[in-house]
Amino acid sequence: MSGFFTAIVEAVSAFLGIIDPLCGPIGIFNLFAGNTLLACGAAGWGDEIAFGFLVTASLAIATLPVGLVMGFFIALAKQSEEKSLRLSANIYTTLFRGLPELLTLFIIYYGLQIVVQNFATAIGYEGTIEINAFFAGMIALGMVFSAYCSEVLLSAFKAIPRGQYEAGYALGLHKGRTMQLIVLPQLIRVALPGLGNLWMALLKDTALVSVVGLPDILRQTSVAARVTKEAFEFYAIACVLFLILAFLSSLVFSSIEGWAKRSEAAR
């Protein structure tokens, strides 16, 4: 499992190495901070921090589809006619919206370890198994994200009038096609602002995974701060990098919003 994820990370980093905005041939650290602590390569911490930036971004991007899909199905479950389905979905959201993200992460990280270890021992594998921090973080953050996402999608579902479904059935579309062709496009438009907020929260929550050892922005800058004793500078850089991520995603979101509203007449 761990080898699989490192392989993915390596493949992505090899591709991004060419257009790396931080440490590539035309990277910021290379151009402006060549002789400081932020230099790339063995002389400075630039490349380590650039790697952390990549890990943070890829963790958030990898978590997003997991959380979105789970959240969608939980939202469907919440408005189902089946009482047991509604109840179990509500238990899920109550749990993961009520627990601190850090605690969820610890419970998943250590709990998964215990479960997998017991399973491995049961099938006769001797030796210790360590859960990948990236994987545990993805699951924990995905669960938290999906709990919030289901609430956003649920309120978006409520904003779509019943007549839209009826129109779909009247056209002879079955349930899945109605959802896909008629409801989902409108749902995205209504839910986008809420999902944008959730994405920002997810981006910030990724910093927590540094606590269980994932080499993300915060972890890498912490190591640099501890070694060089220049704590303020490095943590300030971490803040700036997170701000850059937030700024980039707000750009992306506004363009998606424009795309989703392309069919609305200008009023």
């Binding site: 220049e230 943590y235 300030a236 803040c239």
Partner: protein, 276 residues
């Protein structure tokens, strides 16, 4: 001529049609079963691993940790509310410099993780200890608890300023004009007309913010403050007993649910004049 001489004997109703086994029902029962199994499993784990010695040793620690968490949240939310008032006004002011500064403050504190801010203040300012000692501020920044309180106050002030600004701007223009027409001075118009209406709009976001603070406060454990999460980590590192986390989860869940219900009741109570 024939007529009915006997009534038809009462018949049993036809049997109810069998409930169709739909996918929803199947999944619902399956998930409910999973939750039930989890609940039973956790219960068995707690019963099976019950150790009065550990309970006596770590139980009081958990309660004191809970106290630290609550104190931190209450203090920072109250102080943040005080700080958010001038911030919200600066954000709404017509002076571009003032509003830009407030915007930058809010953007910084809402755009970066709380954990990074905490590290920046606790470890980052720690590297300026000589200067801080010279200014006589070192006693404050030396203590992780103080740094956590400062970070949380600054952070929640940014969020609360946005909540307040949104709420004040949501009050219709006519309310301002009405107050002007009555000849009310600006200050009285704000406190008696605008603010009460704004606070009703702000009630729900404020509740969410407090819940977010309670959940966010868990990270102070990382900088050695012994709040609920800190005590939990301490207990786990001493006993390697997974239950340590389950107890903490239970306590956090209880506080958050309690607060959520209190807030729902409060909201229903305060907005009862708006019900139609």
């Amino acid at each position: 001529m024939s007529f009915v001489t006997t009534l038809i004997a009462p018949q049993a109703p036809p049997p109810a049609p069998p409930k169709p086994v739909t996918a929803g029902r199947l999944f619902g029962n399956a998930f409910l079963g999973i939750w039930l199994a989890l609940a039973v499993g956790i219960f068995m784990m707690i019963v099976g691993g019950w150790d009065p010695e550990k309970f006596a040793k770590y139980g009081p620690n958990y309660l004191s940790g809970l106290g630290v968490t609550m104190l931190l949240v209450v203090l920072s939310v109250v102080l943040g509310a005080l700080l958010s008032l001038p911030l919200a006004f600066a954000r709404m002011s017509k002076n571009p410099v003032l509003s830009w500064i407030a915007y930058a403050y809010v953007y910084f504190f809402r755009g970066t993780p709380l954990l990074t801010q905490l590290f920046l203040i606790y470890y980052g300012l720690g590297s300026f200890s000589a200067e801080l000692k010279a200014w006589g501020l070192w006693w404050f920044f030396r203590d992780a608890w103080n740094c956590a309180l400062l970070t949380f106050t600054l952070n929640t002030a940014a969020y609360q300023a946005e909540i307040l600004r949104g709420a004040i701007e949501s009050v219709p223009r006519g309310q301002h004009e009405g107050a002007d027409a009555l000849g009310l001075p600006k200050k009285i118009a704000f406190f008696k007309v605008i603010l009460p209406q704004a606070l009703i709009v702000a009630l729900r976001p404020y509740g969410n913010e407090i819940i977010l603070m309670i959940k966010g406060s868990a990270i102070v454990a990382i900088v050695t403050v012994l709040d609920l999460m800190g005590q939990t980590r301490l207990a786990f590192s001493r006993t390697f007993d997974y239950q340590a986390y389950l107890w903490a989860a239970l306590m956090y869940l209880l506080i958050v649910e309690l607060l959520r219900n209190i807030w729902a009741w409060l909201e229903a109570r305060l907005t009862r004049h708006l019900k139609r």
